[in-house]
Symmetry: C2
Subunit: 320 residues, 2 copies
C-alpha cells in the first residue's frame, strides 16, 4: 500500500488525502500514517490544507522503493534488502544465498561497520556517503573461471560512472576502479563452490560516491578518491546505483548468453594495466614484469624481466 | 571430570567409587552421576559391591572421548563436535568455519537426515552404520588448486582402509573410493574463497563402514558397498576413524610442507582411472577418451578418440 501511495505521489503534483483514501479504499488516517512512514524514509512530503499532499523531494536513501522505481532489469535488483547499518552486506547476502535466495538478490546498506575488501582488508563505509552493495549470483561456472565475474562487474561499474558523471574511470586488473590515479571503487568476489561447480557468488561492490576526504581513514587518504571529489559536486546515489544495476544486468546477461569474449574486449578498452610495468604480490613472493594481455579465462599474462611469459593468478598487483 | 574418570576406568581393571571420589576430591554421588553419563554414551560399566566400577566395553559411538583417546594428531581432530543426528555435518562445520573455528575441527554424526554428495546428490547416512565427518581446513591455496584437497583425502582414506582391514581399495579420479568395483566412500569438498585465496574448506567424507545392503537406498544397491560387506564382518568404526584422522594429518602435513608432488605419486599408486577409457560428463556435454595421467595440479589429462589431449575440469567421470 505504501508503495502504491508513493507511486501516486510521484505521478501527481499534489493529491488530497481524501482522494487517496477513496482510490485505495482505506481511511484518511491510514493514508496519513503511510505518508508519515514515507517521511521517515526520507521523502519530503508537504501537506497543504487545500491541495493535499505533495512530494517535494525524493529520499536520498537507497530504499527499494527508489531503486526499483522504473528499474529496467529482470534479475539484478528484483529483490532488494535495504539496511541502515550492518557489519557487512556480504555477511547478510551470504546467509540469504545459503538459504536459497534467488539470483539477483541485493543487500544494500547506508553504512557498514566492518565493510571488507579482499584479503580481509577494511573497506571504509561511512553513512550515506557511498554505495555498499552485495549481489547474489548463481552462474553456471567452473571455479577455474571465477576471475571473470569481477572483470564483468568492473566493466559495469565503469559504464555506470561514465553514464552518470563526466568522468573517465579506468580498471586496474582485475577489478579496482581508478580516477586520476586514485581508487574510487572496489569489488569483492566471495565464492561458495565444490571442486568443479560454483554454488553461488556474493559479489560485493563498494563505491565512494559522495565521500569527503575527511570521512576516509588516514591510511588511504592519498590513494583513494570519490566520484564527488573528482566531479566537484555531489552525485545522486540513487541514480548511480540504478544505472549500475542496469549495466550489471546487461554485462552479466551477455556473459551468461555468449561467454566471456565480448566482455573481455570491453574490459580491455577500459583497463589501465595492459602495457604497464607491474609488480605482483601473492602474499609470499613478488615478481615484476610487463602486462601483455588477459587470456581467454581473464587471467593476466605478463612478460617478466628475464623474458619469460607468466600467467598471474594472484590478484594483488601494483602499477609501477 | 568425566574424561578423567573415563581415563581412570580405562587404565584400571576395576576401581571403587570411594577411591575415585578421593582421587578427584568429589563426592561418591558425583562419581556415580558421571559414571551414569558415561553409560548413556554407550560405555558398559559394571558396578560391583566389592570391586567397585569396571569398564567392560567401550562405547561404539564416535564420541570425542573415544576418538581423541591416544589419538596421535596435532591438528586434525583436536576439536570434535559429535552429534547423534543432524541434517548434514557439512552445514554445521561450515557455520563453525564461518565463525572462525580452527583448522582440524571435526563434526561427526551418527546419522544424517540430509547427507549430501557432490552436485546436490544424496548420501545415505543410516544411524551408526557409517562414518560421516566434516573437517575444517584452512590451507594456503589458490582456488585453481582446490582439486588437490580431495585427492589428498582419497589417499588418506585408502591408507586407513588398508590398515584397518585386509581390503585393497582403489580411487576413481578424483576421489571416489572403490572396492570390487563398488563405491564405498565419497568425498565432498566445499570451498569458501575469493578469486585468488581460499578462505576455508569443509571437507566432507562419508564411508559405508558397517552398512548392510538393506540400509542403502534402492538406486545405489547395485553400485555401492561397505567395508563390512567386503570383509564379511563388522569393523570398529572408532578404530577406523582414528586411523583415518591420522592418515589425513600425515597426508595433509606432507602437502602443506612439500606441496602436491609426493601425494600425487601416492594417489597414482592407488588409482583405477589412469589407463582406462572414460566418459566425462560436465552436466551439459559428454566426451570420451583414454585417461593418460594427472598433471601437476591434480587435473586429469585424457586423449580423446580423435587423438587430442584434453585437461578435464569436471569431476564427473565414469569408467567404460
Amino acid at each position: 500500500m505504501r508503495d502504491l501511495i508513493l507511486k501516486e505521489l510521484k505521478q501527481q503534483d499534489h493529491i488530497s488525502g481524501e482522494q487517496l483514501a477513496k482510490q485505495f479504499n482505506i481511511s484518511r488516517t491510514a493514508i496519513w500514517k503511510h505518508v508519515n512512514e514515507l517521511r521517515k524514509m526520507g521523502y519530503e512530503i508537504e501537506s497543504h490544507p487545500h491541495y493535499g499532499y505533495a512530494l517535494i523531494k525524493n529520499t536520498d536513501l537507497l530504499v527499494p522503493e527508489e531503486i526499483t522505481f522504473e528499474l529496467n532489469t529482470n534479475v539484478i535488483g528484483k529483490r532488494i534488502l535495504h539496511l541502515s547499518e550492518v557489519d557487512s552486506t556480504q555477511n547478510i547476502a551470504d546467509k540469504l544465498a545459503r538459504e536459497g535466495a534467488e539470483e539477483g538478490t541485493c543487500v544494500i546498506a547506508e553504512k557498514q561497520t566492518s565493510g571488507r575488501g579482499r584479503r580481509s582488508r577494511n573497506w571504509a563505509s561511512p553513512f550515506k556517503d557511498g554505495v555498499y552493495i552485495s549481489i547474489i549470483l548463481r552462474p553456471n561456472l567452473k571455479p577455474l573461471h571465477i576471475i571473470q565475474i569481477p572483470l564483468i562487474a568492473g566493466v559495469a561499474l565503469v559504464k555506470a560512472m561514465e553514464k552518470t558523471t563526466s568522468l573517465t574511470p579506468s580498471i586496474k586488473w582485475p577489478n579496482d576502479i581508478f580516477l586520476s590515479g586514485r581508487k574510487v571503487a572496489g569489488i569483492l568476489t566471495e565464492v561458495n563452490c565444490d571442486i568443479d561447480t560454483v554454488h553461488y557468488i556474493v559479489l560485493g561492490i563498494g563505491i565512494n560516491v559522495n565521500t569527503r576526504k575527511t570521512a576516509l581513514p588516514k591510511e588511504i587518504k592519498g590513494t583513494a578518491t570519490s566520484l564527488s571529489q573528482e566531479c566537484g559536486h555531489d552525485i545522486s546515489r540513487v541514480d548511480f546505483l540504478k544505472q549500475l544495476l542496469l549495466e550489471l544486468e546487461t554485462a552479466y546477461n551477455e556473459f551468461v548468453t555468449n561467454g566471456f569474449e565480448a566482455i573481455g574486449k570491453q574490459w580491455m578498452a577500459y583497463n589501465n594495466t595492459i602495457g604497464s610495468n607491474i609488480k605482483v604480490n601473492d602474499g609470499q613472493t613478488e615478481i615484476e614484469g610487463k602486462a601483455l594481455r588477459i587470456d581467454d579465462d581473464g587471467f593476466l599474462i605478463i612478460k617478466t624481466d628475464d623474458g619469460q611469459t607468466q600467467r598471474i593468478i594472484s590478484a594483488d598487483i601494483s602499477l609501477k
